[in-house]
Symmetry: none
Subunit: 332 residues, 2 copies
């Protein structure tokens, strides 16, 4: 990409917000703003063509790192973004973007579908695929960047779920949107650990809301998907049992170990690897959770089916890059 980088330096200084990073066109002279905006959006979001209106550009983004996600609060003048089929691919983010529209008009096209959002509504799109976003007036929105694998593992046929209209006034959509807005609103007030924990809930709720509007026609050999689902459910219920092993899972689900192994193969994983992942994940969450602040690390580890602290320690570090106690400290 040829975007010039003369703003890179000034950018890195322009962000003294407590938790989030703030970018604003206001910090620059009007003639520079458009170039600057192109660079920022290209770097932080996706490589898109930006068509600003004739009037002056105003655009303000506050970006929060949110565990595995990124939450952005965006206010902007009218704008059009377009990602073309052959965009040069220094992909900034291999992610889906979930949008919670707050005010103004918002129109999105992707995969031949088109969606209009009212304030409160949500939608999802693939940041790396061609898309077209039109906002003919000043508007504001929340944008949640969700790394592709995270959604893939949660939603079968996610690629068919883009550019759908998720109503934000009723039912689960309203609950999810309300929750995420609430998180964004309180972001600065929250402890780092609390804030992180909320991201998991946000993702869960988004996925739930998505499920209500997804088209029903994607076909993934149903029985296999169901079987895998059952297996995972069984694992979830028995995570804390140290003797959880292929034989146990097999007995508990009525499927042969070999078959289970094949099921996991589909997502480039294996049974026990998955089990350890889930255990680690549970421990990690508990380490962050202030409610368990008084508990020893070994208590937590044993509670989730580890039976040896050294084993846990090693695995944890390998997975998350630092030792359990460092992790707990670092996220206060």
């Amino acid at each position: 990409m040829n975007t010039d980088t003369r703003f890179l330096h000034s950018l890195k200084e322009a962000m003294p917000s407590t938790r989030g990073v703030k970018y604003s066109t206001e910090d620059f002279a009007p003639p520079d703003r458009l170039d600057w905006l192109r660079e920022v959006i290209g770097r932080e979001y996706a490589n898109v063509e930006i068509t600003p209106p004739d009037a002056g550009v105003f655009n303000e983004m506050v970006i929060y790192a949110w565990e595995q996600l990124r939450l952005s609060v965006i206010r902007s003048d009218a704008i059009t973004l377009q990602r073309l089929p052959r965009e040069p691919d220094l992909i900034s983010q291999d992610a889906y973007f979930a949008v919670i529209h707050l005010s103004g008009c918002y129109r999105l096209l992707q995969n031949g579908r088109e969606v209009f959002l009212q304030p409160g509504d949500m939608t999802l799109y693939d940041a790396t695929l061609p898309h077209h976003i039109v906002c003919p007036q000043p508007f504001s929105k929340l944008l949640i960047s969700i790394p592709r694998p995270l959604l893939r593992e949660r939603v079968a046929g996610i690629e068919h779920c883009t550019a759908l209209h998720i109503p934000g006034r009723l039912g689960i959509g309203s609950v999810a949107a309300g929750f995420i807005r609430s998180c964004a609103h309180q972001a600065e007030q929250l402890q780092a650990g609390e804030f992180s924990l909320l991201s998991e809930h946000a993702l869960d709720l988004l996925v739930l809301a998505l499920a209500t509007v997804r088209p029903s026609h994607f076909k993934l050999s149903k029985s296999r998907a169901m079987a895998l689902h059952r297996v995972k459910a069984f694992i979830e219920n028995n995570l804390s049992c140290p003797s959880l092993n292929p034989a146990a899972v097999s007995a508990g689900t009525g499927l042969s170990p070999r078959y289970i192994s094949l099921l996991f193969k589909e997502e480039d994983n294996s049974l026990m690897r998955y089990v350890w992942q889930r255990r680690l994940e549970s421990c990690r969450k508990e380490l962050l959770n202030p409610i368990h602040a008084g508990h020893r690390i070994c208590d937590i580890a044993f509670r989730w089916g580890f039976n040896d602290l050294s084993h846990f320690s090693r695995l944890f570090k390998q997975h998350f890059g630092c030792s359990p106690s460092d992790y707990r400290e670092g996220h206060k």
Copy 2:
């Protein structure tokens, strides 16, 4: 319990709501309402004494089964509920009740703590232990019943987390309260499956919010908290002994005086300061107690380990703002 059951039948019919069960005094003739209300509350919540205001009773409850929890939306006229220490124990629910206050005034007493809620605020109490709830005006609230084991396994020392004030305007409290209100609001709109899934999130968020306000001695590591508890127990047993001093406590508990001093430091107090506080408090209670009306002040003081009346007098005034005899007179 002797509550009559003549309403049982009519109750079971009075609930054609889609998901929730609705109870309302409106469905009954005014003279019957109070009896009916007593029965419903006793059966659905806890066995409490109900003191209605002089005016007519209005009370409306919609109860949703929420996976392992129960969510109630309650609107009511002024009311006072009191669970006495020796309530006959056909315990309707062995659960904690989380309250999200919506409108009006709400005051709760339990375990010697007292909490006032503003709209939006939350608190938690143990439905099976004595408690006292005062709402002097019409009010509305959400109530989430959480089976005891569910909270026990999530929060160490949950029994000390009752009657705490969880602010509902800021930070995690606002996120949690907002989420649950949103769930209640959309309850009728949601699929059964969706609705169930949300309960897990609700519980998680509640627990998180609780963690931010739990009393500080839970940030104390377990062993330290235990040690402090032992020290206090020893003090309580020997309050009346005038020679109770650091050396004695040390001997009685097996901890060094210095260490005990450190323990008290954590609650911004010191050993002997605590001892005098307890003695004064005991004396104060006895001064108020009509049983001891005939006893001389110096008898009372000496009985609680003071060995010098002038010392007692001075401390008392310093603490409670008036002399012991004034205090006794003033509170007849």
